[in-house]
Each structure stands twice: as structure tokens, then as C-alpha cells.
């Protein structure tokens, strides 16, 4: 053995300096970590802030007060026709557009602008709803609040910069003046945009709604959930509890692990090639979207399920086997109940991912312009994220706020799902 070293002199200046520099490094490193996290947080806040600032106006709309005469002649119906079984049909065939145009023209002329610049193309729908609730309106002349045109809507929300030279902005000086007149008359107001949450897509931003896309998402996710939850859980159970170590099992494992990391667009190509081209399923249908997303979500659920099952300590299995439970009993009496919170958490996260997924659905045509709320699994539909994508491509300035508003809706759903997942995870985290 070597001669014993001299005891380290910790108080020597060299050592002291060394320790000081080590502590300085420590502080720097710690700051870097904090800075990274802070940067990520700042970005998130910026992102959410931007979206919200752009989007909250999407839930509002500007309305203008017009004196409308429900002229039975122009409408082509009278109040008696609305009573009885044929009433609905009569209402649908009535010429509310005409009444609206008349009222709008009258007002627009006083302002020196075109009627289409004053009111929205779909403003007549408001009249129809009014008559539906009160058939007695026919033949009367009343003041009605109707949605303004897209440009006036933006003016109403102050989203148009009046300082910009006339040539570079969508509204002319005349229109601005007209709007100001209306405003000083108290004939414009800003209210909650109900159509946004109840209607489907439209070419006019002030009429476009997300309910169609939301229902499309819902239908798609139902298909996805029904398919991938049972299959995913069963696969996870098989792989984790029973699968013997062999080539076949390895193949399944590699498949699943790889599928989880395959770009989502590839699943879109699969859906396109197999479901649409090979099986001839209908384009743009929630069932195809659901199937495609199910294949994409399946590995997520399998992996989450396997992790949850694996985290059940083997000692529990030994214990059950030790008192004479069969392999199946072990799983269904002990492992599965204990793993369920984890599996559910994984499933919710998988579904949240599916809800936010866009690319594969583009491939199978769920970017169709659908103005109707989808009724079933095979009718053409779109989904929220695709709707966002479509609107983001629109040139009309009004769609910017719609896009952001749709994003807010989507994010709210995602937050709810993720929040539920986090809640589940925290509540059931590691009890053994």
C-alpha cells in the first residue's frame, strides 16, 4: 500500500477558492434550468394570450336595428297558414329574404350604402325565428335587431383600424360614416353570438358556427372510443400478463411501440388507401374518421394500459396465485381494478390527442365544406381542428376571430379532458 496521503487541508486558500467557484457554477446551472422553464411558460402564456385576444370577439356579433314590415304579400304566407300541421313547411318556403332586403334597402339608402354592406346575408334567418315564436307578427311592422354585414361587424368590434388609408382597408369612408351614424342613433349594438355555437360552417364569417364541427368531432370520437378502448385494454392485458416470450409477441410489441410513434399523417394515408379506396367507405364520414383515429389511438391506450398494468406490483399477482387464483382471476380480480385509473388516464389522454388531430382527417376528406350539422355516422362531416384549419385559410378578415374562437372552444374541451386525466392520476397515484 502506498504511504498514507496527507490529510486534505480544507481551509487552504486553494481549496476555499475551489469551493467558491463550485458554488458559483451551481448557481448558474440552477438559473439556466429556471430560465428554460420560464421561457416555456412565457411562450405558453403568449400563445394563449394571443389566441384569446384574437378569439374572444368571435363569440360576439354586431347587430343593427331595422324597421321590418312582415308583409304577408311579400312573404307569400299569412298567419293562418302557420297554424296547423303544414305550418313548418310554410315557414320554410316563406320569402323572408324579400322582407329583409326591403327593410335593409330602406335603411341603407338613407345611409348611402348598399344593403349587402349593412346587413348579413343570413340576417333573414333572425326574422324567420321571430315569426316562428310569434306568428302574430305577420302583417306588422316592428323594429328588429339583425346581424350586420361582416365589415360592419368588424367595425362594431373595433377591429378595423380607421387610420389606415381607405384603399388599404375593407370598408370605405362612406361605410365608416354610415356606421358612425347608426351608432350615434343607437341602432347598432354588440351582443353574444349565439349562431357561432349553434350553427355549422358558412362562407360568411358572421354566420359561421362550430356546432357542425363539434358534433362531427363527437361522433368521430365515439367511434374511436368504442373501438380502441376495449381492444386496447385487452391487448395490454394479453401482452403484459399472458404473452409468452416469442417471435409473435415481439412482433406485436414492436408493432405497437412503433405505431405509437408513427406520424399521424401515415394513418391518414392508411385510411385513404384502405377504408376509402379498398373498402369503399364514404368520404368525409365520421365512421371513417373514427376508424382511422382508433388505429392511431390504439397504441397510446395499449402502452398506457401496459404501463398501468406493469405498475401493479408483481407481489400482488404472486399473492393471488399463491392462494390458488387462476391466471384469469388474478387479472380480473386484482390487476385490472388496480390498473384501471391508469388505463382511464391513458385513454383520456389518447382521446384528447385524437380530438386535436388534424392531418389524418384531411387525408380522408374530412375537410369538406359542410353547412349542415351531421346527422349520422355516414353523413359527411368535419371536425373541430379541421374546421380551424379551414378557417385559418380563409381570406376574409372576419374568419381570424372565428378561427381563434374555435381554437378557444377546442382548447376548453382539451383542458377539461386533460384536467380529468390529471385529476385521476393524482387521485390514484401509487397507493402501494
Amino acid at each position: 500500500m502506498n504511504s498514507p496521503r496527507v490529510q486534505t487541508d480544507w481551509a487552504s486558500p486553494v481549496m476555499q477558492a475551489r469551493v467558491r467557484s463550485r458554488y458559483a457554477k451551481e448557481r448558474r446551472f440552477r438559473f439556466m434550468g429556471f430560465a428554460a422553464l420560464a421561457l416555456a411558460g412565457a411562450f405558453l402564456l403568449f400563445l394563449l394570450g394571443t389566441i384569446f385576444a384574437n378569439g374572444y370577439t368571435g363569440f360576439l356579433r354586431t347587430e343593427v336595428k331595422l324597421a321590418v314590415e312582415y308583409d304577408p304579400f311579400t312573404l307569400g304566407i299569412d298567419s293562418s297558414a302557420l297554424a296547423g300541421p303544414g305550418g313548418e313547411n310554410a315557414l320554410n318556403t316563406a320569402n323572408f329574404q324579400g322582407v329583409m332586403t326591403a327593410a335593409a334597402n330602406a335603411r341603407a339608402q338613407t345611409l348611402g350604402i348598399a344593403a349587402k354592406d349593412l346587413v348579413s346575408d343570413g340576417a333573414w334567418l333572425a326574422l324567420r325565428e321571430a315569426v316562428r315564436t310569434d306568428p302574430g307578427l305577420i302583417g306588422k311592422r316592428v323594429d328588429v335587431w339583425v346581424p350586420t354585414s361582416g365589415d360592419f361587424d368588424l367595425l362594431g368590434k373595433g377591429l378595423i383600424d380607421r387610420a389606415v388609408p381607405e384603399a388599404n382597408r375593407p370598408v370605405s369612408d362612406t361605410e365608416v360614416a354610415a356606421f358612425d351614424t347608426l351608432k350615434s342613433d343607437g341602432a347598432v349594438r354588440t351582443t353574444l353570438n349565439t349562431t357561432f355555437l349553434t350553427m355549422a360552417d358558412s362562407t360568411s364569417p358572421e354566420l359561421a358556427g362550430i356546432w357542425g364541427a363539434a358534433k362531427g368531432s363527437l361522433l368521430t370520437l365515439i367511434v374511436t372510443l368504442l373501438l380502441c378502448f376495449p381492444i386496447g385494454v385487452m391487448t395490454a392485458i394479453y401482452l403484459e400478463e399472458y404473452a409468452p416470450k416469442n417471435r409473435f409477441t415481439d412482433m406485436i410489441e414492436v408493432s405497437i411501440n412503433n405505431l405509437a410513434a408513427v406520424p399521424s399523417i401515415i394513418f391518414g394515408l392508411l385510411g385513404l388507401a384502405v377504408f376509402l379506396n379498398f373498402f369503399g367507405m364514404p368520404r368525409s364520414a365520421p365512421i371513417v374518421g373514427g376508424l382511422t383515429l382508433a388505429l392511431m389511438t390504439l397504441p397510446v391506450i395499449v402502452i398506457a394500459g401496459r404501463i398501468a398494468i406493469k405498475s401493479v406490483p408483481p407481489s400482488i399477482r404472486d399473492a393471488a396465485l399463491g392462494v390458488g387464483a387462476s391466471q384469469i382471476q388474478v387479472v380480473f380480480h386484482h390487476v385490472l381494478p388496480l390498473a384501471l385509473p391508469g388505463i382511464l388516464t391513458g385513454t383520456i389522454i389518447g382521446m384528447a390527442r385524437a380530438l386535436g388531430e388534424t392531418a389524418p382527417l384531411l387525408m380522408i376528406g374530412m375537410r369538406a365544406f359542410v353547412t349542415d350539422v351531421p346527422g349520422g355516422l355516414t353523413t359527411p362531416a368535419t371536425v373541430l381542428p379541421v374546421q380551424i384549419f379551414l378557417w385559418s385559410d380563409e381570406v376574409a378578415r372576419g374568419f381570424v376571430e372565428k378561427t381563434s374562437a374555435a381554437i378557444i372552444v377546442l382548447l376548453v374541451f382539451l383542458m377539461l379532458m386533460n384536467g380529468l386525466a390529471i385529476y385521476l392520476r393524482n387521485k390514484f397515484e401509487k397507493r402501494w
Binding site: 458554488y23 457554477k25 451551481e26 446551472f29 440552477r30 434550468g33 429556471f34 428554460a36 422553464l37 416555456a40 411558460g41 411562450f43 405558453l44 400563445l47 394571443t50 389566441i51 385487452m234 391487448t235 392485458i237 394479453y238 401482452l239 399472458y242 406485436i252 408493432s255 405497437i256 411501440n257 412503433n258 405505431l259 410513434a261 408513427v262 406520424p263 399521424s264 399523417i265 401515415i266 394515408l269 392508411l270 388507401a273 384502405v274 379506396n277 379498398f278 390504439l298 397504441p299 387462476s326 384469469i328 388534424t358 392531418a359 384531411l362 379541421v386 380551424i388 384549419f389 385559418s392 381570424v400 378561427t403 381563434s404 381554437i407 377546442l410 382539451l414 383542458m415 386533460n418 390529471i422
Partner: protein, 468 residues
């Protein structure tokens, strides 16, 4: 009788079979025994298993029959109906035949008041009767199967009969079938991509595709148009993909993600961690389309402004930098959570060991934790790269479509995924090289990510096993 009703009836039958068999088994299980060992050795399975056994025998074969019928039944009925029509009123072409059947079914289901085609109108009663006949036959067969299956099983209910292993074997088969879905999906992907790609490579040489530097997949409007079959050199796409996904995004994501994970796991107090971790999860939960929108709407113009301000005149509004940075931010939580997992997988004992030697926390991290977690972190980064190059929406919305081969981050580049979306949206003709090229691109993308994934997962797995 409709399939749904039939299935309901079968389920009812199965429930009855279960209850009956369980009661029968309970009768002999109710005897008293001197001790537990006697009981265990003289009665094999608990009554419920006998019940399940009989119920499954009653249900499953019949159910398979009914399901098979619901798949092929319609076409059988249709064939029969058409065959029984007079020859002259039979539809000739496939298209005719389909229109004909649609009308018939419409009338039968009551959606149509009447058919436009008189022949179809005439076929309606025939269709109805054939369908009823067959449904009855199938219902009868199903009942027979259920009865005989259930009866067979019923006779086997004995104290010593091993019902449990048989029921369990059935469950096992169902489990195995479920796990086949994953393999089928993989095969589906591979086969469909290869099938369409082969079509593509018949038209365009693979060499040109893989090594060509000119990408302009404009298709001919008319088949006889000369010289406008498009150029399919995908190198600019590959470069754009790598430039955005593997370079710019990673420059952003790796340091930020790694340092975030380190701060979270090693420095943050539990309370702070409780707030910060969900924050990263929120970042991870934001859909890519939102990032894309953000990149296009906010970041890209800002980048362009910045580029112009530093004197880069050819800055595009759809720049590689904008897409790359936003993608990097999107990947931060992914890198951070992989790194977090890897670092927490390093046993706490190692950290204690190092601290007990008098190392500072950062020394412990840099010299012990990171080296120990390195395989896991590297695996995580590779997975992140794989994810970045497969990411679609951000690049579709922010990177643009210009297939430039440039290293200037302020210029517009395009990526494989962006091109796939571009090529496959709108009208699709499955015989044009343009459409098919999307599948070739998909194949390349799949192959590359597959290799990355398998390698990364193997690395991560080996790493995990080291600490189990």
C-alpha cells in the same frame, strides 16, 4: 327478423343458460364437506364458471352465424332478388345494378315513396319476401345452434367437470385476437403504402425520386400534354423536413426541454413542481393545428419583420425558421417528459451517493444523473426527432409549399408531410403520378420514422432494464 333483434334474443338465451347452469352447479356445490381440502379436490369449478361455460356455448356459435349473415346477407338477398327477376329487367352494368338496388332498398326501408325505375318497383315485393325467408332460415339456424351448443355444454356440467379452464381459454382467445389488431394495422400501413408506391415508381424512377433536386408535381391537365408530367425529385422535401424538424426544432427543444426537466426534477420544490409540470403538459396538449395557426398568424410575420430589420431582403413570410421554432416549442414538453422519466428512473440512491460524497447538486446532475440517464435522454431525443419530421400541421400552415433547397432559415422550404397534404387534398385521381407520389413520400416518411423509432425504443428499453 333483424340482426339486432336476433342478437338481443341470443343474449337473452345466454343469460337464461347462465342462470340455469349456475343453479345446477350450485346444487352439487352446496353439499357439505369435512374440510376445505376435500371440497377443493372434489368440486373443480365454482358454479359461476359452469354458467359461463354453458352461456358461451349457447351464444358464441350462433352469434358468429348472425354476424356473418349481417355481413354477407345483404348481397345474398340482392343476388337472389335480381336472379329471380325476368332477364330483360335485370340491370346490366355494375353501376346500374347498384342504382337499382339502392332504389329497391330505399322503397323497402320507406325512405322513398316509390322507385323511379318500374323494374325496381316490381322487385320490391320479391326483395321483401326473399329477405324474410332468409331471415327466418338464419334465425332458425341460430336458434338451433344456440340450443345444441347450450345443450351440449349443459350435459357436461358435473362436479368434476373443469369448466373454469375452458372459460378461461375462451377469454384468452379473445385477448389474442385483440392484440392482432396492432399487427394488422402495421401490415395495413406497409401494404397500402407499398402498393401505391409501386404504382408510382412504375411512372417515376425511384432514383429520380430519391436523388432528384427538382420538385414540381404539376400534373398534366390533359394526358397528351407534353413535357408537363412534373418533376419528382424529392431531395428538397427531405432537406426541408430535416432542416425544420431535426435542426431548427431541436436547437430550440433540446436545451429548453432538458433544462426544464432538470429544474423540475432536481431543483423545484414540490409545490412549484405541482404548478410547473401541468404547465408543460398543457403545452403538450395544445393541438398541432393551433401551433400551426399561431406560427402562421403571429410568429411568421414577426420572423419576417425581424429578418427584414437585419437586412435579409428575401425573407419569406412562410419561413423555415417560424415553422421550426414553433415546432421546437411544441416538442419541448415531449423532450422534457422523456428526460424527466429518464432522470427519475435513475435511482435516488445514486443522487444520495453523490451528494454524500460532497458533490453539489449541479455536479451530481452533470456527472452522475445525466450520464446515467443519457441513453434514455438520447432515445427520447430521437423519438422527438421522429415526431418532428412527421409533424404535419405546423409545416402545412407555416412552412409553405416552395420546394427550395436552401439553408437560409428565413426562406420558405417545404416538407414531406406538407407535400402529402398538398397532393392529396382536392381532387384525387388514383392513376396520376401526382397523387401516387404522396404515397411514395409517405413510404419514405414511414421507413425513416420506423428506423428512428425502433432504434430509439431499443435504446430506451435497454436503459430502463438497467434500472429495474
Amino acid at each position: 327478423m333483424s340482426a339486432a333483434a336476433l342478437i338481443l334474443a341470443l343474449l337473452g338465451l345466454a343469460v337464461a343458460a347462465y342462470l340455469a347452469a349456475r343453479a345446477r352447479a350450485a346444487a352439487f356445490a352446496g353439499r357439505t364437506f369435512a374440510n376445505a381440502a376435500d371440497r377443493i379436490s372434489s368440486i373443480h369449478s365454482r358454479p359461476a364458471y359452469h354458467g359461463w361455460y354453458v352461456a358461451l356455448w349457447a351464444l358464441v356459435p350462433a352469434l358468429i352465424l348472425v354476424l356473418a349473415w349481417s355481413v354477407v346477407g345483404e348481397s345474398i338477398v340482392a343476388d337472389r332478388t335480381i336472379a329471380s327477376l325476368p332477364a330483360e329487367s335485370q340491370p346490366q352494368t355494375t353501376l346500374d345494378r347498384q342504382a337499382f338496388l339502392t332504389e329497391v332498398r330505399g322503397v323497402v326501408s320507406g325512405q322513398l315513396a316509390g322507385a323511379f325505375n318500374p323494374a325496381a318497383d316490381a322487385a320490391v315485393p320479391i326483395y321483401r319476401s326473399i329477405k324474410t325467408q332468409w331471415s327466418l332460415v338464419i334465425a332458425g339456424l341460430a336458434a338451433l345452434l344456440a340450443m345444441s351448443g347450450g345443450g351440449f355444454a349443459w350435459l357436461r356440467v358435473r362436479p368434476h367437470f373443469r369448466a373454469r379452464p375452458r372459460v378461461e381459454r375462451f377469454i384468452m382467445i379473445v385477448l389474442i385476437l385483440s392484440s392482432l389488431v396492432a399487427i394488422l394495422t402495421t401490415f395495413g400501413i406497409v401494404l397500402s403504402l407499398i402498393y401505391e408506391s409501386v404504382e408510382f415508381f412504375r411512372r417515376v424512377s425511384p432514383i429520380e425520386f430519391l436523388f432528384g433536386t427538382n420538385w414540381s408535381p404539376q400534373t398534366a391537365i390533359r394526358a397528351d400534354q407534353v413535357g408537363s408530367s412534373g418533376a419528382f425529385g424529392a431531395v428538397p422535401l427531405f432537406w426541408g423536413t430535416i432542416f425544420i424538424g431535426a435542426i431548427i426544432a431541436m436547437i430550440v427543444a433540446i436545451p429548453l426541454g432538458l433544462m426544464s426537466a432538470i429544474y423540475l426534477t432536481q431543483y423545484a420544490k414540490p409545490k412549484a413542481r405541482k404548478i410547473m409540470k401541468p404547465m408543460l403538459e398543457v403545452l403538450a396538449g395544445v393541438p398541432t393545428v393551433v401551433y400551426g395557426y399561431f406560427a402562421a398568424l403571429t410568429v411568421a410575420p414577426a420572423v419576417r419583420e425581424f429578418a427584414l430589420s437585419i437586412g435579409i431582403s428575401n425573407a419569406s413570410s412562410e419561413s423555415a425558421l417560424a415553422a421550426g421554432v414553433v415546432m421546437g416549442i411544441m416538442i419541448i414538453p415531449f423532450v422534457s417528459s422523456m428526460a424527466d422519466d429518464s432522470i427519475t428512473a435513475v435511482p435516488a440512491a445514486m443522487r444520495d451517493g453523490s451528494l454524500a460524497m460532497g458533490a453539489t447538486t449541479s455536479e451530481t446532475i452533470k456527472r452522475v444523473l445525466i450520464p446515467a440517464a443519457l441513453p434514455g435522454i438520447v432515445g427520447g431525443v430521437l423519438l422527438a426527432v421522429s415526431r418532428a419530421i412527421g409533424e404535419t400541421m405546423i409545416v402545412v400552415m407555416a412552412a409553405g409549399l416552395a420546394a427550395n433547397l436552401t439553408a437560409n432559415p428565413f426562406q420558405s422550404v417545404t416538407t414531406v408531410t406538407a407535400q402529402i397534404v398538398q397532393l392529396l387534398t382536392g381532387d384525387q385521381e388514383f392513376d396520376s403520378a401526382k397523387t401516387l407520389s404522396a404515397f411514395a413520400l409517405g413510404l419514405v416518411l414511414f421507413a425513416v420514422t420506423l428506423c428512428l423509432n425502433i432504434y430509439a425504443l431499443a435504446v430506451v428499453k435497454r436503459y430502463r432494464e438497467a434500472y429495474e
